[in-house]
Point group: C2
Chain length 232, copies 2
DNA sequence: GAACCATCTTGAACACGTTCAAGTTCTGTC
DNA sequence: GACAGAACTTGAACGTGTTCAAGATGGTTC
């Protein structure tokens, strides 16, 4: 919904009203066909035909078939944020906030499970612009990490001072792990993923709270130091 | 009506002398070209030409280009096992065994880093036969899990009785995590991955040993129960 | 040897993602 | 209105993985 993103077309950067309309048309058609038939079974020719344009025209607006998915990321992230808002407003307990936000993320993803699984391979490639770790994905990624920062700041949880700054990114990583599990989850309605969240959140909660105990200080520091090392 | 289990097709277990020779030739050629040019830039036509056979012939022995990689798995796993043997013979401390085996795994993978990254996307797709979780990969997977069972059984570590049976698979999962990190690792010589291993192993060691403490019994049980739930 | 049949081999053909030189439409300027 | 250039659009053509009907090969049986 929010058109605040800077449009990056294949040819240039400037998006005029004329082109924007076609761009949106192609995008909507693509998203619809992806949902209907899956990613692999939707051909660029089909997208172009259904949208009533030439194949080459789709490539004028999108660098590749994969780049059509970039939009999916942005939308999903925005929806996740929206879906998480009530939880953030309502809950103050860390575990409740975390579980709520994680569930909201899966809620938003659920209608796209098949589609997501089929293009996941693309996102998984380290050099792909679609990788959640890539520079191109930094927008949605930063937004997502910000969401987990809110999970933390709005909660009453007391966290070890050294661990705290690292925690949002760690929680986002955990979310990536949940998404990874979800992609592979073949249980009906991805019920397992829900169980994973419900089972893992209390453990994370426990770990986070226990990080302040004097006895475990060395361990906490060990963890923080490892993170620092790995990050450079 | 009798055992007409014909099918040498690609599944390729019935190996007559005639066919096996061609199969090996194609395989060696493919592996060489993959290493030389990378996965994506090696075409099936190039493999066939270099091997001196027709394109279709390659497809007689291998279901797809991806399936050529299956062999890479099997070989890597076998090499891993071999490389890990000295460590298993020498060490009895759990942490030392685990670190040694993990490092051995990365040792074996190192020459293929570029190649591995380029086909990783393929392996990441849930429905791919190359997925480490797929039925087709069960051979190498079971072997790998067995390796981590040895890490445990040969060690002097005392582990919670309920956790113990789950541990080999968990350690293998951790190894998958390390490999995931390694694929994304752009540091020279993948030095970060080494740091990850050296940093994470003591933590795992600590966790495993601490699992027996009476105070933490509930947590351990919570973890074990979560694993059970997720596995069905 | 001849006939049979499973095994193996071939290469043209297909569908796909992608490119690009060539066209068309729009917008601003005089 | 005429012109220039940018923005947009086209569809044939390329290289790719993959398929398949047709043919070749070699062992087995009589």
């Amino acid at each position: 919904m929010t058109d605040q993103t800077v449009p990056t077309t294949a040819a240039g950067e400037a998006a005029t009203a004329r082109g924007e309309q076609t761009r949106q048309l192609i995008l909507e058609t693509a998203m619809r066909l992806f949902r209907e038939r899956g990613y692999a079974r939707t051909t660029m020719r089909a997208i172009a035909t259904e949208a009533g344009v030439a194949v080459g025209n789709a490539y004028y607006y999108f660098q590749s078939k994969e780049h059509l998915i970039q939009e999916f990321y942005a939308r999903t992230q925005a929806e996740h944020r929206t879906a998480a808002q009530p939880v953030l407003d309502r809950e103050s307990d860390f575990a409740a906030r975390l579980a709520g936000v994680l569930h909201a993320g899966i809620d938003v993803l659920t209608p796209s499970h098949e589609f997501a699984a089929s293009f996941f391979k693309t996102a998984a490639e380290p050099t792909s612009p679609l990788s959640p770790f890539s520079a191109e994905s930094s927008g949605p990624r930063e937004a997502a990490i910000g969401l987990y920062a809110e999970v933390l700041t709005g909660s009453t949880a007391k966290v070890d001072a050294e661990l705290r700054p690292q925690l949002p990114e760690l929680l986002w990583l955990a979310y990536m792990g949940v998404v990874l599990f979800w992609v592979y989850d073949r249980s009906p309605g991805q019920a397992r993923t829900r169980q994973l969240i419900d089972g893992a959140v209390p453990l994370v909660d426990r770990l986070v709270k226990v990080s302040r105990l004097r006895v475990l200080r060395p361990v906490t520091q060990q963890v923080v130091s490892l993170i620092h090392t790995l990050r450079h």
